[in-house]
């Protein structure tokens, strides 16, 4: 049985090795089809991991930065130069300085593309200015905690975005990020109701089939423009922010709805630092912004 010399081999060994070879090579055919999937997964994973590792230059999830206890809401732009990163050839703001006094309403009027909305974007710190400073109560907004800063500001845009949820839930989203988000359901409902009364929305919401529990539909398609806007206003003021930014808030509405929404905005703007952006001077004049200064921008 035993092999004589290194070369010796019997049939047992040979068949054993031969079967091993078959198994080894057939295992290659098992592995092969998976390789393509691994390749794809590796490429996809690289993409995903790159995104996950990307550090934003303005990190909205950051826990750093100061959170002052008291906010009076004075906003100041000091020698601000700004270009949009996506359009580096256009100088949107060229050495702009302006002050938005606390508790007062200021209107920004100008042609499209003159940089009115850019000022709102800078106040929200969606972008950082190229040079110069944006200050809130004397603090550079870069030193403030970003989440905190944004909870101090209520924003109403031209096209309000509501989620496909109930009216109550949509307004209550405005509490997110504040201490009030942890209140009981009952108290939140009270706050929502108050905010909606202030926003001139309570009366129409009560006439809806299910009141505050009516679902607004996909892209709020079940609401009219004026209704949407008033719900959006209620959402912006429910957390009682000291600053209110209105970016063409009534531009997309018909005259009647505009009047109602404007009344709601006037009420909301009381005692708050309010910046109104409008492309028509008439909108602002009609409102009667008695104590405000109108800045012609750019």
């Amino acid at each position: 049985m035993d092999a004589v010399g290194a070369l010796a081999l019997d049939l047992t060994d040979f068949s054993s090795i031969f079967f091993s070879c078959i198994i080894a090579t057939s295992s290659l055919t098992i592995i092969a089809p998976s390789i393509g999937d691994f390749t794809k997964a590796a490429a996809a994973a690289k993409d995903v991991l790159q995104m996950i590792a990307r550090e934003p230059c303005i990190d909205s999830a950051s826990i750093e930065g100061i959170k002052p206890d008291k906010v009076s809401g004075r906003i100041e732009l000091r020698n601000v130069n700004f270009k949009y990163p996506a359009r580096p050839t256009v100088q949107v703001l060229d050495n702009i300085s302006m002050v938005f006094e606390e508790g007062k309403t200021t209107a920004l009027v100008g042609a499209s593309g003159s940089g009115k909305s850019t000022i709102i974007a800078l106040a929200e710190r969606w972008y950082d200015p190229e040079s110069g400073e944006v200050l809130m109560d004397g603090h550079n907004v870069k030193d403030l905690n970003l989440k905190w800063l944004r909870t101090q500001i209520g924003l109403v845009q031209q096209e309000p975005v509501l989620f496909n949820d109930t009216v109550y839930a949509n307004v209550a989203y405005g509490l997110y990020g504040t201490e009030m988000a942890n209140l009981s359901e009952e108290e939140k409902r009270r706050l929502v109701k108050e905010a909606c009364i202030e926003a001139n929305a309570d009366s129409f919401i009560e006439t809806l089939p299910e009141g505050y529990d009516t679902v607004v539909g996909e892209r709020a398609s079940l609401m009219s423009g004026g209704q949407k806007q008033r719900i959006a206003i209620a959402r912006s003021i429910i957390a009682n922010p000291q600053i209110l930014l209105l970016d063409e808030a009534t531009s997309a509405l018909d005259p009647r709805a505009e009047g109602i929404v404007q009344a709601a905005l006037d009420q909301a703007a009381k005692l708050r630092t309010t910046i109104i952006v409008a492309h028509r001077l008439s909108t602002v004049k009609k409102v009667g912004v008695q104590e405000s200064c109108v800045i012609e921008c750019c």
Partner: protein
């Protein structure tokens, strides 16, 4: 798995040995007993294999689903904390398509395929271990085909991966176009822009097709080389095995009768 297959082969060999041994002729009853014993072994082995395969498949599926869920969450978290200017450059649509297609691909890659491939590698290794312990010379000659396979597969996979990444990129752009078109479907209908948008979408698909076609030769080389190397290994094994057998016969004629 390794040992199971080693034993499996040994079962075959021992059975062959009875036929070839010549001197102690086995009685029919004893032969049947042996056959039955090994057949039962097979049954047990494959019950074990069934259970194990079931286990590893479900484990890998669960693990991959969990990992992908974690990735999705981390991805969305990361997207949401990006600065606004990031979204000026890349459209939200492509971000959304990216995560859904990528997560699916990753899940496929992390799922039961890993189990199957691991099984394949284990079989490969165990088979060679068995081969080497049985007769290192023949095994050594046969194993020379392996590096060739690994190198060829490695090279083609590297190229394939690059092309795949490009295809993913194109698909994400196509996805964002589709998303944009569908989200403003009223405008599309009002302006009768179906044809135009379809043509635009087609451009992306064509671009992806070009990369896809480029993948062809690499996949061709990959599969064909794998199989040709496999058959080369067979023939090498036969050729050298016979040679060794012949030499072995010369050295010790009594060992091998047939």
């Amino acid at each position: 798995m390794t040992l199971v297959f080693g034993k499996l082969i040994n079962v075959f060999n021992k059975w062959g040995q009875f036929d070839a041994d010549g001197n102690p002729l086995i009685t029919p009853a004893g032969f049947r007993r042996e056959i039955n014993k090994y057949t039962l072994w097979f049954v047990y082995l494959f019950i074990g294999k069934f259970v194990l395969v079931y286990l590893h498949t479900s484990c890998f599926t669960v693990a991959s689903t969990r990992m992908t869920r974690g990735l999705r969450l981390a991805y969305v978290r990361s997207i949401l904390r990006q600065e606004i200017s990031y979204f000026d450059i890349c459209t939200p649509g492509s971000v959304a398509t990216r995560i859904s297609t990528n997560a699916n691909l990753i899940q496929t890659g992390l799922g039961e395929k890993v189990g199957i491939a691991t099984q394949g590698v284990a079989m490969l290794v165990s088979a060679f271990v068995v081969a080497f312990t049985q007769g290192w010379k023949l095994a050594l000659v046969t194993i020379t085909t392996l590096p060739a396979a690994v190198i060829l597969v490695g090279i083609t996979v590297a190229f394939d991966q690059k092309l795949e990444a490009k295809i993913l990129d194109v698909y994400s752009k196509a996805g964002s176009l589709a998303e944009e078109a569908l989200s403003s479907v009223r405008n599309v209908v009002a302006f009768g822009a179906h044809e135009k948008l379809m043509a635009k979408y087609n451009v992306y698909l064509d671009a992806a097709k070009v990369f896809g076609i480029k993948k062809g030769p690499f996949l061709g080389v990959q599969y064909s080389s794998e199989f040709s190397i496999m058959f080369c290994a067979y023939s090498l094994c036969f050729y050298y095995g016979i040679q060794l057998l012949l030499k072995g016969e010369i050295a010790d004629g009594g060992t091998i009768v047939k």
